[in-house]
């Protein structure tokens, strides 16, 4: 009863779906525009990395703030970050493409890559030459390896401390995790910032914005919170969380997701507004190409779907505290984050007239296969990890506080919690 009921069968299904998605994406390279397929795969990787990074950040924030309420949920993040290893493996094809076929995904990797509008090549582009010390294959590869080393290393430290504490109940693991979180928050903030710059922003390397890392951070945490809602609702529906997870914990989790809805809007609006208001062509072009064709409507979808819909819905208390509406809104958020990443990546695909290829195109299919492919492996990794440990960190110093979140009485250690529902 300690670990949740078997998830082996479900894990295998996700593994199968993941492999099928990856296989279909690979097929796409031969039957469709390979550039579009490659960018779609980059979207799949970036999306799932964002969710895993968000979970890592939530673990870090939990430890840094000595949080009580989120202790019963934290274990799920610890399982979630097990996916980093597989994400690193899945990133290898992108790294290989950087060396074997430079410029295939990131145009600046190929100095002979022609610029749009017949303005010479990347190597002749003064704007590239100025930033060549940062935008080069060696730095890209080294930094990307560094990002994964940081994320995998931090995840391993947190997982080891938490899982070992289940066995020995030593408070030193909590102290150790707190110290790891202190160093980890700086490393994670810097790594996610530069990952977003290298992987997504540099696709249109002329463009720049100091807010970009903060935008990616907001999406990471929003994605992780959406998946935390899915996981906890699923565990509750299976019966694993019954008697453990209560309305107050759930409401607090969704309230945090609500706060990040506002944070995302704040960050994204600030970036757009300041660029729109200054009206400098070297910045506005990034938004201008996103007003062509159906990208304008994708922008509108983000404005209303990424902010207004969840914001207005979650103003209602009941929709934060009840499983079904919170689950539906979280599912919407999870989808719209994917759209947001598409909005940042796909317009880099241009037609012969230097216009971005439409959003509604065959590329969406490859985005779907990539997201299912990478996601299947990530969920499989989560489920595999889930089966190996206790459902909740039973020896964590704050576990009773978490189980009785918002209840007046904190029971004695070891006492079965009455009314922990």
């Amino acid at each position: 009863m300690s670990a949740p009921a078997s998830t082996a069968s479900l894990a295998n299904k996700f593994l199968g779906a993941g492999l099928a998605g990856l296989a279909l994406t690979a097929v796409g390279l031969f039957v469709s525009d390979p550039h579009g397929v490659a960018l779609s795969y980059l979207i799949g990787i970036s999306y799932w990395c964002a969710i895993a990074i968000g979970m890592l950040l939530l673990i870090i924030i939990h430890h840094l703030t000595d949080s009580g309420w989120s202790t019963v949920i934290r274990r799920q993040y610890e399982h979630g970050v097990s996916a980093f290893t597989w994400l690193a493996v899945l990133f290898v094809p992108l790294l290989l493409s950087a060396w074997l076929k430079p410029g295939f995904i990131w145009p600046w990797m190929d100095l002979a890559h022609p610029l749009h509008g017949g303005h010479g090549t990347v190597g002749q582009d003064v704007l590239y030459v100025k930033k060549a010390g940062f935008l080069n294959q060696g730095m890209f590869t080294g930094m990307t390896i560094g990002f994964f080393v940081i994320w995998i290393g931090l995840s391993a430290l947190f997982r080891k401390a938490s899982f070992t504490q289940d066995r020995d109940g030593d408070p030193k693991w909590t102290s150790l995790s707190r110290r790891t979180a202190a160093a980890g928050v700086v490393l994670t903030a810097l790594s996610l910032t530069f990952a977003s710059i290298y992987w997504m922003k540099s696709l249109e390397y002329h463009w720049f914005s100091t807010m970009y890392g903060v935008w990616f951070f907001a999406n990471c945490v929003r994605g992780a919170l959406a998946f935390a809602v899915f996981i906890t609702v699923w565990l509750y529906a299976r019966g694993d969380y019954k008697g453990i997870y209560n309305t107050n914990q759930f409401h607090t989790l969704v309230a945090l997701a609500f706060a990040f809805v506002v944070f995302w809007a704040y960050v994204t609006f600030s970036q757009y507004f300041l660029i729109w208001n200054a009206n400098v062509p070297e910045e506005t072009f990034w938004y201008n190409i996103r007003e062509h064709g159906d990208w304008l409507w994708v922008g509108m979808l983000l404005l209303f779907g990424h902010f207004f819909v969840p914001f207005l819905a979650w103003l209602v208390y009941r929709w934060k505290a009840e499983r079904r509406p919170a689950f539906i809104i979280s599912a919407w958020v999870a989808v719209i984050i994917l759209v947001d990443i598409c909005y940042n990546v796909l317009p880099a695909l241009k037609d012969a007239h230097d216009e971005p290829l439409p959003f509604l195109s065959i590329n969406l299919l490859w985005v779907l296969t990539s997201v299912v492919g990478v996601g299947g492996i990530c969920v499989w990794s989560y489920l595999r990890s889930l089966a190996t440990t206790k459902l909740i960190p039973i020896r964590d110093p704050r576990i009773v506080e978490s189980l009785t979140h918002h209840e007046a009485a904190a029971p004695e250690p070891g006492q079965v919690v009455e009314g922990a529902h």
Binding site: M1, L64, D66, G68, V126, L127, K130, K131, F134, D170, P171, T174, S175, A182, A189, L190, S209, T210, M211, V214, Y236, G239, D240, K242, G243, I244, Y245, N246, Y266, V267, S270, Q271, L274, N277, A278, V280, E282, A321, E322, K390, L391, I392, I394, R395, D396, P397, R398, I399, V400, E401, A408, A410, P413, G414, V416, V417, E418, G419, A420, H421
Partner: protein
């Protein structure tokens, strides 16, 4: 979820729950009870005015006179008495404005945002922090109002506040400077309301105590402001709801105020100003400087009034950690600005940042970096956080650093903009220096009056976080 335990059996895993022992720190030390808290806080108001208070008040009033004299001279003579000149037409006035507005943010963060986040450690420090917010807004407001020279023009013909007039002259509503007028005045109003609502139960207590002591005049004054508070169940219920609503309103308001302040610069094209990270970076900086000022004020107050049991080492720890976190965020923003100035490959942006670090104002830049990025890193160490003298000194550096941050942003960019032929070097006039110096006196006078005549801590809120308030003896927070 909504299900109840009776709907399903209690999972066996709950029987395995045996938490490691890591008790949370207490929020009120030495098992102080309700009575002690009331006596301690009311005693500060009821007791004889300490001699040190008079000395401090006299000194503060003297310093404040510098601002008054400076402003009178400015109105009588004209804004030319300040050192502004092409190309630096914004300087200490807006630097000081942003500095003081930023100081105020910690008060709202502690009272509103930490309230929404259910952080119980806020209770001992929220009242003085809120007072600090209001007094800081007063000091901040001096500069935009007086920078118009003839201050009556601020209202009519409406250089700051909209005023219908026969000439149909209106402000530029598309300017963030005008948004500032609305944002700051709304913020000031809500901050006063929030502070006052929190004071009501404690004013009622003071009224009752002065009545019992036979001091009719004071009982009437405190009774007037207590607005008939009787502590009934209905009144508490309304009070709690009002407090929560004000916390909800204040939270977006405080964030919007410093966001708009950041827009003052970021909407422009001036190199070093136009950067998209400004809004969150300014908010983080404001919280950083505000907590610096809270500790600067609270640590001497704690020592003088012997408030160690109410402002414990845990409170100091938490504030130091917030300073560390926000200081590191500010450091992130500085780095990102510098990096993107290079990455963006715009020669003007690149020059602006190189000039900041190595140009004529490099001394100001490195003071800023030392105070805002390096100083808070000392708070990683517990030994530093436990040394209150050191904490106080480091917080002084934080205050200095945040003033210099605004100076660096504003003056260096204006002094060396696009056109080398118009470059200049700004130095403040003695009037500017004295006017700014005096605002510390204005602030101190108001703060000293606050600690003398009002309960400096929310008694009712502190009582709610001590174990005696919990029938089960829980200490969780």
């Amino acid at each position: 979820m909504g299900a109840h335990a009776s709907d399903h059996p209690v999972p066996a895993i709950l029987a395995e729950v045996k938490p490691a022992v890591m008790p949370r720190p207490v929020l009120v030390a030495n098992n102080r009870d309700f009575h002690w808290i009331t006596e301690k806080i009311c005693g500060l108001v009821e007791g004889k005015t300490p001699v040190w208070w008079w000395w401090c008040f006299g000194a503060a009033a003297f310093v404040a006179s510098f601002t008054i004299a400076g402003l009178i001279y400015l109105v009588a003579t004209g804004v030319g008495v300040w050192g502004h000149a092409n190309p630096v037409n914004w300087a200490w006035d807006i630097v000081n404005f942003v500095f003081w507005i930023g100081i105020g943010h910690a008060g709202t963060l502690i009272s509103a945002i930490l309230c929404l986040l259910r952080q119980k450690w806020r209770t001992s420090i929220n009242r003085p922090a809120e007072a600090m917010t209001i007094f800081a807004v007063v000091c901040a407001a001096i500069f935009p109002v007086f920078h118009v020279g003839r201050i009556w023009f601020a209202v009519t013909p409406g250089w700051l506040f909209p005023f219908p007039n026969s000439n149909g002259i209106w402000q530029n509503f598309r300017s963030p400077l005008e948004w500032d007028v609305f944002a700051v005045s709304t913020y000031g109003t809500v901050s006063v309301l929030f502070w006052y609502v929190g004071l009501i139960p404690d004013l009622g207590t003071l009224r009752d105590r002065f009545t019992a002591a036979g001091n009719v005049l004071k009982a009437r004054i405190y009774g007037f402001f207590a607005m008939g508070w009787r502590g009934s169940n209905r009144q508490w219920s309304n009070y709690e709801m009002a407090y929560l609503i004000l916390a909800g309103i204040s939270t977006p308001l405080v964030l919007s105020v410093h966001t708009i302040v950041s827009f003052d610069f970021a909407v422009s094209l001036i190199p070093g100003w136009h950067t998209t990270i400004f809004p969150p970076y300014f908010v983080a900086g404001a919280i950083f400087s505000g907590f610096g000022m809270v500790l600067t004020l609270m640590l001497p107050l704690r020592a003088v009034y012997r408030l160690d049991d109410l402002i414990t080492q845990y409170h100091i720890d938490c504030m130091c950690k917030i300073i560390l976190a926000t200081g590191t965020m500010v450091g992130y923003a500085y780095s990102m600005e510098f990096f993107i100035a290079w990455y963006g490959a715009n020669p003007y942006e690149g020059f602006a940042f190189i000039n900041r670090a190595f140009g004529h104002y490099a001394w100001a830049y490195w003071i800023m970096i030392s105070c805002n990025v390096i100083t808070p890193q000392f708070f990683w160490f517990k030994a530093v956080r436990n040394n209150t003298t050191l904490v106080w000194i480091l917080c002084l550096f934080v205050n200095v650093g945040m003033w210099f941050e605004r100076f660096v942003i504003i003056v260096t960019s204006l002094a060396r903009d696009f056109l080398p032929s118009s470059w200049g070097y700004y130095s403040p006039s003695i009037v500017e220096i004295f006017t700014f110096f005096g605002t510390f006196g204005v602030f101190s006078v108001l703060f000293l009056l606050f600690i003398r005549f009002l309960p400096i801590m929310p008694m009712s809120e502190i009582k709610m976080v001590i174990p005696a308030a919990d029938p089960h003896g829980s200490t969780k927070h």
